[in-house]
Symmetry: D2
Subunit: 351 residues, 4 copies
């Protein structure tokens, strides 16, 4: 019997509708680099979902590339980007931000989230330090929704962060690699329009929501920036796909009938079944997540037993010898796979 994998949300290919569309459009001849009707239509569909007909939309092939390109574009040479110490850009992007010349200014992560009060205090202290012009200037706040730990900002927290940003002249960038999972979570009190209203720039992650690859960057109020060279920067950063329509076609499929959110909702539902199974079996969690990443804590013995049939990520050894692990679901996670896991958890709890 083969192992059922819950390691990541990018371990399968793409939603079959995407593959079908790639096939049915395969012999169309279009211009390269995103100057094609599919890309145009995908942008319009996204604008329509946002209710922002003037929003600027750009497509890139991956998350690290997107974070790097947006941050490099919006910061001036002496500015840095504020992020939670657990933020993806600070940990798992191989120094991509620093490679563009910018420091990441870290705040403590609270289950993956920045505390608006920490942010305010940091900035007040910064500007009251007489040597502040010998230091990296804060230029932007980077947050993730949902976060790297599956958690969610409340609408109130986002508003407070936004207020601090406005007070201190910072831009606010929301990493949406798992934006779908965030917005369709039962614990979310926000809509996509809140995201667009509060941020200066954000993106819809495609890779983790049913696309082969691809992220859609949105500037909701493009008039706030000079975006004439953004496309050139995408090219410079190696993110301008020659067959750019591949991104257009995928986001067309994802946004023409709500498939993007449907995929995300599916992954959350499967994750919540897993969460409930662990909860009912009496397990504790490292983090209380309501999205597609779940972090139960296992004893080493339980871990060994589960790994006979399932794979998942070891997240963090606990000081008491137990193990915090991560189960991740996706648009492709089947009911059968979840039921197998739920049954196994039940037995584990009974032992």
């Amino acid at each position: 019997m083969s192992i059922i994998r819950f390691e990541t949300d990018y371990q399968e290919g793409a939603h079959p509708k995407i593959l079908e569309r790639l096939s049915s459009t395969n012999y169309e001849q279009t211009s390269g680099y995103g100057i094609d009707p599919h890309t145009q239509r995908a942008k319009d569909l996204i604008r329509s979902v946002l209710g922002l007909p003037k929003a600027e939309v750009f497509f890139l092939t991956g998350g690290t590339q997107t974070n790097t390109t947006v941050i490099k574009y919006l910061l001036s040479p002496c500015e840095g980007v504020i992020a939670a110490s657990t933020g993806h850009i600070n940990v798992h992007e191989s120094g991509a931000i620093e490679a563009t010349g910018h420091k990441i200014l870290t705040l403590p992560g609270h289950d993956g989230l920045i505390d608006p009060q920490d942010l305010r205090k940091y900035l007040e202290a910064f500007y009251s330090d007489p040597t502040y012009d010998h230091m990296v200037q804060p230029g932007m706040v980077y947050i993730s929704y949902s976060s790297e730990l599956g958690t969610l900002y409340t609408k109130q927290a986002l508003r407070e962060i936004r207020d601090v940003c406005e007070k201190f002249g910072l831009r606010l960038f929301i990493d949406g690699a798992r934006l779908g999972a965030g917005l369709t979570s039962e614990a979310s009190d926000m809509t996509i329009r809140d995201i667009a209203e509060k941020s200066n720039v954000f993106y819809f992650g495609g890779t983790k929501t049913g696309a082969l690859f691809g992220e859609a960057v949105v500037f909701p109020r493009p008039e706030d920036f000079d975006l004439r060279h953004f496309r050139t920067l995408i090219k410079q950063q190696g993110g301008l796909l020659a067959k750019g329509r591949l991104l257009g076609i995928q986001f067309e499929v994802l946004f023409e009938d709500g498939l993007y959110f449907e995929n995300a909702r599916h992954s959350n539902l499967q994750a919540m079944k897993i969460k409930n199974a662990f909860t009912e079996a009496g397990f504790r969690f490292l983090i209380d997540s309501y999205t597609n990443q779940q972090f139960p804590i296992l004893t080493p013995k339980q871990d060994r037993a589960l790994r006979e049939k399932f794979s998942y990520e070891l997240w963090q050894p606990m000081t008491d010898g137990n193990l915090a692990v991560r189960f991740c679901t996706s648009w492709a996670t089947t009911d059968e796979a979840v039921e197998e896991l739920v049954s196994a958890v039940k037995i584990l709890g009974d032992d």
Copy 2:
């Protein structure tokens, strides 16, 4: 009647065998970032084609990204890369190389090619200049095969370039975005093993040879470099695809039965039919190319006439008022399309 397009070699999707394989593997669960059996097998197939079982192979998503990552990895901070002034890195990559901190040191392009004697003279002059340590140090030579203008180095020229590189301690990097078209050209006197033997690093371009996207970087003698961090640099440069197997699957299909070279050969054959048609109709060419890019010279009137049914790139206005244009073929260029064009050229010549 719709326009038949000969603008680029990336205006269609992918060879249908690639789409089929993406579909048939879609629900497989694999680890991300290229740690999967498809990627492993694709690497082995490439090693086998090269007869180099120890060659190191890495997959990236695009050409600019590949050029940037390789050049950044192999140069030290004071080194620059020597290229023809027409080289892709010097013109159409939005300053991607400079964005990594390295200068491009240009030599005159001779129909897209570096002259080995120019190279030798440049280096001799450089090291005899007493102020040479106030200048960017030459660290690498970058050439393209086939070149941006469809032309080809002879085996002899490549050998001479290689000799100069060895004498002056430079690495030699071959941009293979159109390597297939180069090697399968009737005018090529080289095999892939010559490329691997003479260069320190090169790549098989997938984007222009039937893949959706993707380039396969090869270090034929990996023992010459410390490649431990190359994967980390791919990540840093935003080129490490989460669903890395997409690259593996595509290159598996391209290299398991020779499809890569078959696609390239097809594009060249179609291009040569076009070349012959123009030649027989008495047209001159900007460049004498034997690969999938053809550069005939049209009068403005001829250009207007042709554009009623065909699209192609305006390459360069000539000083006499005529127009050098580019016709580009691909793995997908049909016999029908070529026949239509051939007929139209014949008529044009008869006028």
Copy 3:
């Protein structure tokens, strides 16, 4: 008898008034990093010379550092700087500009100068190229006054360059490493106010005009830029001197009684005596310079003879076997040294 050196304009220390002032202020206690009364006064003196009480002035320690800092500050990530191929930033700064991520876009040098028509044509061609957004965007023009070859823009040429810059939205930066020599040349038709009026930023080079070291960057119309972080960038680039007052003190001395221009005038006068000696003795010149660099052409035999008593720079071997050489004078070049050279040239001509 020791060799008399005419190699460079930085082969002696500093004008004695500067050393005296450094001594007389040595035990003053001041704040670091340019927050001191001397630096403040030096800025005011420069503003006064310019007749621009609101101009912003910054002091840095060297020319390469200054060029790099100004260019990095004013360009956005996709922009490059246009310069003559002979421009200092393109040749003798070890890739400092590229190290900040920016490409240098070269135009042919005409005796070290950019032709305004070349500039206009380059920009027109750039924006009419349909692939222009895959290329580095022109953001700034860099020129030197006097140039690296001792030549001078006319007021008319500077006006035309400025007009092109305005038309295409480019900033204009004048490298003034030898600004004094330029403005005090008998061939100059410009004043310092023309420089300030036509450029967006320029600098007074101190190193080659009697200071130990130091350059004074001037933004004549600071309201055109957000300069809040310029000081921080100087720090980031390693150019913010801890004992910043050393720069202030030097520029105080140079600008309180016109010593800056007096030094420059002296170097030009000495150079013109040398020029006249060569001219009268029937020598040709590589370049017709009226500043402190002179480029006569010698036969190898003449060169050997002169080098018995003098040192100077071999500039360029000519195709006919002769040698273009450079004689450079400074604030410290004595009448005796020049007379010795003039006599030797006369004898050389008589042979």
Copy 4:
């Protein structure tokens, strides 16, 4: 009565012997950029002090520049530098290190020092993380002697740090901006030869030890690195002084008769008198320093009283409302100034 300043160790000019030597050598004509007899002799003097006739020595104009140049030269693109969170490069260099593309990997500072055990644990955890190749690779350890907080590593701690570096293949770089103060402290158990033996590269800071400016970088075992381009990198980073002999002359004076260490010893002695005064008057200290920086804790009232006659840096407000402040001495701090302060402190303690 004017204020007596203890704010920094760079608030005066230079030791008078340096100014005298600059005057006496002023009219010598020498080649630029450090190719002159003074620079050569200064290197030899430093080699002699170290007992390392083959050590490589380079002179730069400032500390940030030196840190940046050394770190950029020795790291490959995916590597970062490990430093205490309080390290100068992490706080007060305006992001200079990140501007070269490298991340600073911070460890907790213990009164400004890295704990060797923290370092070991960090590295063990790093390499046991399965995602480590998605992270910045540790390439170098940066420490300061004496530290930014006036503290000192023991010989034993330095040995342990060195052992960890060797085990994990890291280079060890010692920032010696205050190396003199460190080595001449009564609390130091190291000699300059220990520094040279344990580090891969370090520097003698001149700016804070009696020079106008200047730092002398030493590679004690140059055969471990390819240093051919180091000079070119200094140029690229804007640190190659045209009148390079100014650095040579200053370091000649500092090292020909032990003036470097004499200056440092003087500053420490003056600081210890201040420390003793505060101790005897019953004050506590933020940090127990035995070098030229002292950090007593004052009540706001005491602070107000002292500031009537003295200036010094507010270092850090304490949570109890008191103020940690910094008194800094230099080669130029007079006995009279210290006696005034000592008297004032005594009165303060008596109140």
